[in-house]
């Protein structure tokens, strides 16, 4: 048991070390490597995006199967549609409000343990994903590789969902449900802050 626990700790440290390693930058393909990295870092650079995407994972884990994988599948697909609109310059009104509202609504759904039918949950997540995708699409830096940038931010989004799901699995423990609801409350509070910033 102790051995297994040590192994897990060593594995966790190794993963953290691997993820925090700086870039080698030996021979970067001009534009390409930075495109992937820029795309990957883009969702992580805005706390409003991070909160909403982690909340999707939290809510999916709280709802259980099939939501645990339907929501993280629906989000990037619909987000990509939003990104497509952003690329094409199609205006979507109230992007910042939509992103802040996504954190409030998804956080509140986790905090109050709302359990709608899976279709309703997927539609709600999909609706908010459009705002996030549009923001990503319009903010594509000039000169970057579009494919690598897209892949980077889709992968980062998926990783944030996975983190949310990982935290969400705590609800199986006796005290986990309260932790999860507290996390939902924190996400909603963050959303309120970003909404206030958007309005002000």
């Amino acid at each position: 048991m102790i051995r297994e626990s040590r192994y897990r700790w060593a594995l966790a440290v190794a993963i953290v070390a691997a993820l925090s390693a700086p870039m080698a930058l030996a021979h970067i393909g001009q534009g390409e490597a930075s495109g992937l990295l820029t795309g990957f870092l883009h969702p992580l650079s805005g706390m409003d995006h991070v909160l909403a995407m982690v909340a999707v994972g939290l809510w999916g884990a709280q709802l259980g199967a099939p939501a645990i994988w339907v929501l993280p599948v629906a989000f990037p697909l619909v987000m990509a549609m939003g990104g497509l609109l952003g690329f094409l310059g199609v205006p979507v009104p109230g992007i910042e409000y939509g992103i802040a509202a996504s954190a409030i609504m998804l956080g509140a759904a986790v905090a109050f343990e709302v359990r709608p039918p899976i279709v309703v949950a997927a539609l709600l997540v999909g609706l908010f994903a459009i705002f996030h995708g549009h923001a990503h699409g319009t903010e594509l830096p000039p000169g970057e590789s579009a494919l690598l940038y897209s892949m980077g931010f889709v992968i980062a989004t998926g990783c944030l969902h996975a983190i949310g799901i990982g935290i969400g699995t705590l609800h199986r423990r006796p005290w986990g449900e309260k932790v999860l609801r507290a996390a939902g409350t924190a996400v909603a509070a963050g959303g309120v802050f970003f909404m206030w910033k958007a309005i002000a």
């Binding site: 990104g83 609109l85 494919l147 690598l148 889709v154």
Partner: protein, 213 residues
């Protein structure tokens, strides 16, 4: 000098001579190149627009089972080779990213929904994927012995990817692991959708420039 120390001395001298006589390592073969077979292999493995659709096909075949994997292993590299050889006749490639984005979308969607396609459909799909991407790879390369070897490198890389990815997915029996593969499909489809938007923006910008001119 005793026999043992003389032996050590000669061994040390031999080692010194060997160390001094060695050629340069040329770890970064910018000047010399890596040879056409590696050019083909590396082109495939470092081009996400080629790599990801092939990966998507391998995931799809893996979800369907070993027989589908074996079929993809036969048809995709063969199609890629034929397509590349056919591409030698074209002088330049166009709309490569547009085609790639369509493949991303199609194969990603098939993986997400775990579509139970027939073996015949997979055969057609993999052959066509190989032909299209091979043609795009071969366009503008020109016909020579070296480019034929490049084509072989491309087909080899495609076959390696199909073998590894398909074998990995076929072995997955746990439900959540298969779901994880399908989530990977959603990432492929989402990237394709974004890439399509990028391609369309480029097409719109080109047409706007032409109309201004």
């Amino acid at each position: 000098m005793t026999g043992a120390s003389a032996s050590r001395f000669f061994r040390a001298m031999a080692l010194l001579v060997a160390a001094l006589a060695c050629g340069s390592a040329e770890a970064h073969l910018n000047a010399t190149g890596m040879g056409p077979i590696y050019d083909g292999l590396i082109h495939f493995l470092t081009s996400p627009e080629d790599l990801v659709p092939a990966l998507g096909l391998a995931l799809l075949a893996g979800l369907r089972g070993a027989e589908y994997g074996r079929r993809a292993l036969c048809t995709l590299p063969a199609g890629w080779l034929v397509g590349t050889l056919a591409g030698f006749t074209a002088t330049s490639a166009s709309a490569g990213s547009f085609w790639a984005s369509l493949w991303f979308l199609l194969l990603g969607a098939l993986v997400v929904f775990d579509v139970k396609i027939s073996l015949r459909a997979l055969t057609v799909l993999s052959g066509f994927l190989g032909l299209v991407h091979g043609f795009l790879n071969g366009s503008g390369m020109g016909f020579s012995v070296a480019t034929i070897v490049v084509a072989l490198g491309l087909a080899t890389a495609a076959s390696i990817l199909v073998v590894l990815a398909t074998a990995f997915v076929v072995r997955l029996r746990v439900h959540w692991a298969r779901v994880a593969v399908r989530v990977g499909g959603s990432w492929i489809a989402a990237s394709g959708l974004l890439m399509l938007g990028w391609s369309m923006r480029g097409i719109c910008a080109d047409s706007a420039v032409k109309s201004c001119a």
